[in-house]
């Protein structure tokens, strides 16, 4: 990981995968899966070998052998997927979720230290509620084996002092790892889901992360409800919409929640959103979901209301 070309990073991650388990000459292997030129062999004592045209190209301690693919665990939240289509690097669900959450609410930046001589790197999340801070910390631990720094800050409100939270990983390697995936920036609201590194599981996890930050479940007194995803960056929102479509959802068109300001004034920021239609709500709740308690509470209500509606219909 770190800077440099994607191939170099790939090689490094691959190598890190190899390092996890040392090869033993007298080990007995049996074929677990074959995909065109690739063969996955499992050692009797545990561990896996990946062969390309009969030559060992990787040795791994962990693998998930599934129907049409095998997924090997690499380092830093990356996995290697081998299938009939060949091999590709994909994000683990934990890393995909971290990317989604960071894209919605986080920051990846380079900053100058006090005095201006030193340079630091930061991947962080700011929130007025502690729950997403906990999720970010957990995901940082899962992916980078790091405990982020947590800063509890205070601001004055009508009711007195309130806390807000800033949780940050100060690491050049982590910043570059995420920058290389192109998940955030360079514009202040700009984000792009790393689609080429996401399998369906990764797409769901990314969307869960993003939704936890910039998603919304609104409900009227009469029980009508809407599930929406907001952003000020229309292009990125369109990419999210396509991800939902890839997963078989039927998201709405992208709408603006915007009114022209008074004559003579200009507004730089627009609020865009798309909705998940009613027909997909239950599927959304089951497959995507959210890390936020308030969303989860409303999801339970939606299930309850829809159950009642269905009974009435029957």
């Amino acid at each position: 990981m770190g800077g440099g070309s994607r191939i170099k990073q790939y090689e490094r991650r691959f190598f890190e995968g190899e390092q996890i388990r040392g090869e033993k000459e007298d080990e007995i292997f049996h074929i677990a899966k074959t995909f065109r030129n690739y063969e996955v062999r499992e050692a009797e004592g545990g561990g896996y070998e990946l062969l390309k045209s009969g030559e060992v190209v990787g040795i791994f301690s962990e693998a998930r052998v599934e129907g049409d693919r095998t997924v090997f665990r690499l380092s830093h939240g990356m996995n290697l997927e081998v299938s009939e289509k060949g091999i590709r690097e994909i994000l683990s669900p934990e890393k995909a979720e971290l990317c989604g959450l960071t894209a919605a609410d986080g920051t990846i930046c380079k900053y100058k230290g006090k005095g201006g001589s030193s340079v630091g790197y930061e991947v962080s999340l700011t929130s007025v509620s502690p729950e997403l801070i906990g999720v970010f910390k957990e995901l940082a631990g899962d992916n980078y084996n790091m405990t982020p720094h947590e800063h509890i800050k205070h601001h004055k409100t009508k009711e007195g002092e309130e806390e807000h939270y800033h949780v940050a990983i100060y690491s050049k390697k982590v910043a570059y790892d995420l920058w290389d995936l192109g998940i955030k920036g360079p514009g202040p609201y700009e984000f792009h889901p790393p689609i080429q590194y996401l399998d369906d599981e990764g797409k769901r996890a990314y969307l869960r992360g993003f939704f936890s930050g910039d998603g919304n479940v609104s409900m009227t007194k009469e029980g009508e409800h809407a599930i929406r995803i907001y952003s000020s960056y229309k292009e990125g929102l369109n990419e999210l919409k396509e991800m939902f479509e890839d997963l078989g959802f039927h998201p709405s068109e992208i709408h603006e929640k915007y009114e022209k300001p008074a004559p003579g004034r200009h507004r730089k920021e627009y609020n865009y959103y798309f909705s998940i239609p009613e027909e997909d709500h239950l599927r959304f709740i089951e497959e995507i979901g959210s890390e936020k308690e308030e969303h989860k509470r409303k999801f339970e209500l939606i299930k309850l209301i829809n159950g009642r509606k269905k009974k009435e219909e029957d």
Binding site: V128, P188, E224, Y230, Y258, R267
Partner: protein, 219 residues
Amino acid sequence: MTPMVATLWVWGEDFDDVRKNCEKYISKRWKENIKECCIEISARRRDEGICYYIVAYTSDPKSVGELAEGLFYVALDEDDVKVTSVSIELFDEILSSGEVYRKSMEEVEKELKERERAIVEKFSREPRVKSVARGRKIKFIPQTDLLCELSSKIANKIVIEMIHEDFSPMKDFMHYLSSDVIERGFAERVLGYDWRKDVNDLKIGDIDMWGDEVLVWLI
């Protein structure tokens, strides 16, 4: 004059930087010809999806930092809010005099009731609605832009603007925010309200089938 609108703070930056960034910008950009500046705090209540703006006009460059910071914390003073940006625009004329919203809330609500009738009349006939309705009950849920004008001694004027499709929580939130602006000393009183998004400004956004009902979201 070429529009001079600058985004000076976005979510993720330190909250303390709002004042610093605004004061720094004003010290560099406020020239003799500037008659008024508009500070806009843009935010979203995450749980309900209410998008709102707190806007302050001032002709005093020294008040910009205090207003920006103070109104930023007003915007933030809710359970789960994302303040998306703080921006400033400079003008060589007084623009705030054009922003006049002086209706009572009762008048606004009465006009919105009238709009409801006009909406049913206009949109029930829309082919997109007719094709899915087929005897089902149709419910129209229109987006509304609610505005509130406040008088202020620190600023020339303060305006709060909200956009949402459920009027009741938006009205409550407008009362909450406007009273907070007053309690914190940035405004003296509410001068009045107004609304936008008349029937002719609305179009069909989403249509949801919900049991025996058709929900038509108008945007």
